[in-house]
Amino acid sequence: MDLNIQIPSNCLSTTKLVMTIKAITKLMIIRQFTLHFNKLHFLIYRLQKPNNLLRSTTFSMALSRRSSGILLNSTSLLHRHLSTTTTITVETNLPFTGHNCEPPSTSITTTPTELMKFFTDMAIMRRMEIAADSLYKSKLIRGFCHLYDGQEAVSIGMEAAITKNDCIITAYRDHCLYIGRGGTLLESFGELMGRKAGCSNGKGGSMHFYKKDACFYGGHGIVGAQVPLGCGLAFAQKYRKEEYVTFAMYGDGAANQGQIFEALNMAALWDLPAVFVCENNHYGMGTAEWKSAKSPAYYKRGDYVPGLKVDGMDAFAVKQACKFAKEHVLKNGPIILEMDTYRYHGHSMSDPGSTYRTRDEISGIRQERDPIERIRKLILANDLATEKELKDIEKQVRKDVDEAVAQAKESPMPDESELFTNVYRKGFGVESYGADKKELRTTLP
């Protein structure tokens, strides 16, 4: 059969082209072993993920499987040959609103594979958050658990527009962003339940997911404190003269923190490649936007820093905005993106989410603006899959999530000795070396 390996719409650089060619050769070798039609789709699908192509020097399939193995089964259910040559033009629901900048165009091109990827990835994220909800209620996840369902489009759209060398840093609503950056479900559930299999070995918890090799810098509990860190990431990128950007994300509640303005000032002063992303879900824990902010136009708060207001429930609008922001920032310094989004759950699992807003509001948004529904409609309208196929994908996703949960449950708790590891870099606390580390000087009690 012919291999329609199209350069995915979000892969433009020559390195990716080279990697894609490498992928094709590898594919041809694999073809000899996998004649099944569906497996091929998953491989084509896999090529869409620039993260694995960019990162794996040895192009180990194991690496890519680890981070997206769950997708193996999902797309194999798609019995249809996905054309990878056609492009689909999508219009965003709402126009962009710019502040001190020209908003980008509202028509975005995409491919069928990208659409299916959006659907599957968002289904995984949605399913993961729902599973976390029930795990929390059965007391396997303790402490704080902030769920991202409803806001998946922000993560998906952002990932579609950037590479794994661009940095993302966010606050505590980080589970889905971690998955978007290439984290596995097992690591995610493992960390939530405090097991060894977790991404931070169980020592961080829900609010401390990090993935260094994918430039995902967390995962922070104190509201707003991550934005100056994001400034630092951008500073390092500028210092090293890298052509990458940092997306520093915060919420509408955090937008009132002084450190955000301090960070904006510094980023603008030194032209740091920082994109400030305000995920405006309209409620800062229990306080509505209008009750906490005199000016809820968060994209305008930069004053001299340009801003863009984006419909955060529309993955393509987010993708377009992030692409625009990345180009803008590499030339002109920081920009603020305000993502108008919504969370279905409460602020965290201890918040029912209905004391400060009506159930009608929540269900209304679910009906009209749900990000997954929008992609589903696009898929059906473009005849890329039938209803049943999409439902099958969701079922498979559910199964994969359940498997990951079961696997995570079996993972052991960290050992007692782990209490003292990674406090200091060199295992200090037990031995003390001189600066040259040659002589063991002291063994402290």
Binding site: G198, P228, Y239, V423, R425
Partner: protein, 408 residues
């Protein structure tokens, strides 16, 4: 210290009291110079002690004790030309250490208020911006929380920033960043990120600077897990500790003192790096162990003069490493003298002395012949009036009285 180069000949000039054994003037511990590399020597921090009044060992900071603060070195005529090393002031020593590290590693950068073109409010970074450029020696706006956060974020990607607080007290605004992000990120990320920052700045009680500019933050920062704290007190250890702090992969808070910046001392020409976790034996002795750090070292040495004349033989240790404590050196000293006096500039409540007292009691209780005495500053905001300010901090007569009581 510098004496290592100058030989132990000075021993003969000691005219001290009874139990002073000349053997002691050999290195105070068998673990002297270790691990010589081709171009870098790690020095055991201790050194021979000389009786501060009588010996003239060329510009040692001990001799400036009379003022306990920045004073001109009254070097004797003979000492300048023939001696190895070079003389400089403490802030120059810091700058030398900083410059050598910036030369050595391109990832080292400095950020703080007025560090660039102004040259640093205490001249520690003077000349560096012209040499290394505006991005490496970054003038920040007055936003401690954010630029500390920025430094920490940059460190997460592999840079090694040195964050300067113009006065340590201003870093209270950055406490969240220092505690939560700086100290804890290595742990909560499961070891993925290291934060090799150095946070430095002058603190301590100065000359009538007022309450808010005379803060001692070592007591506030000491419980933060994941950080190391060191306090420098002489040009020699200032340079060594600065270099060690920059090379360390852990976040290090380097406490300087406003009144010590103009201390002059002769330091070696060769490159040297000190150990961050080690205490310094300032004066070996027999009767009582006096633990101190930063400016109080000079008050203690001044009191030591009086004590020696009265017939006591105090052992003075500059603990230098505030977190963790060098319990090895301290413990060995306690096992010898059985009496401990802690002299610090921190407040009484919850200060370094309080933690040190607890650590010593837990570990060396059996060796103590008397309860540990701890002399600290009063638990009051530092007043402006000169006389009141003097009474806030520990003065040499109080130290003498405490030793007399302890050795009764």
């Amino acid at each position: 210290m510098a004496s290592i180069f100058q030989g132990i000949g000075a021993a003969t000039s000691i005219s001290s009291s009874a139990s002073f054994d000349t053997m002691k003037l050999q290195f105070s511990s068998p673990r002297s110079i270790s691990g010589k590399k081709a171009n870098c020597v790690v020095m055991r921090s201790g050194g021979a002690k000389m009786d501060s009044g009588s010996s003239r060992n060329g510009g040692r900071a001990d001799q400036l004790v009379t003022n306990a603060v920045a004073a001109k070195a009254d070097t004797p005529a003979a000492s300048t030309a023939s001696k190895p090393g070079h003389e400089l002031l403490l802030f120059e020593a810091l700058r030398e250490g900083l410059e050598e590290e910036m030369e050595r590693d391109a990832r080292v950068c400095v950020m703080g208020e007025d560090v660039g073109h102004y040259g640093g409010s205490y001249k520690v970074t003077r000349g560096l911006a012209e040499k290394y450029g505006d991005l490496r020696v970054l003038d920040t706006p007055i936003a401690e929380n954010s630029f500390t956060g920025m430094g920490i974020g940059a460190a997460m990607t592999g840079l090694r920033p040195i964050i300067e607080g113009m006065n340590m007290g201003f870093l209270l605004l950055a406490f969240n960043q220092i505690s939560n992000n700086c100290g804890m990120l290595h742990y909560t990320s499961g070891g993925q990120f290291k934060i090799p920052v150095v946070i430095r700045g002058p603190g301590g009680v100065g000359r009538q600077l007022g309450a808010e500019h005379s803060q001692r933050l070592e007591s506030y920062f000491q419980s933060i897990p994941g950080i190391q704290m060191v306090a420098c007190s002489t040009p020699y250890n200032a340079k060594g500790l600065m270099k060690a702090a920059i090379r360390s992969d852990n976040p290090v808070i380097l406490f300087e003192h406003v009144l010590l910046y103009n201390l002059k001392e002769r330091i070696p020409d060769e490159e040297y790096v000190l150990n961050l976790e080690e205490a310094e034996m300032v004066r070996p002795g027999e009767h009582v162990t006096i633990l101190t750090y930063s400016r109080m070292r000079y008050h203690v040495m001044q009191a030591a003069k009086t004590l020696v004349n009265k017939g006591y033989d105090p052992e003075v240790i500059d603990i230098r490493s505030l977190k963790p404590f060098d319990l090895y050196t301290i413990g060995n000293s306690i096992k010898k003298t059985h009496r401990v006096l802690i002299v610090e500039e921190c407040m009484r409540t919850g200060g370094i002395g309080a933690s040190l007292t607890a650590a010593i009691t837990e570990n060396f209780h059996d060796y103590l012949d008397a309860p540990i005495m701890c002399l600290s500053s009063q638990d009051v905001p530092t007043p402006y009036a000169g006389t009141l300010e003097e009474w806030t901090v520990v003065q040499p007569p109080q130290i003498v009285a405490a030793v007399e009581q302890l050795c009764r």
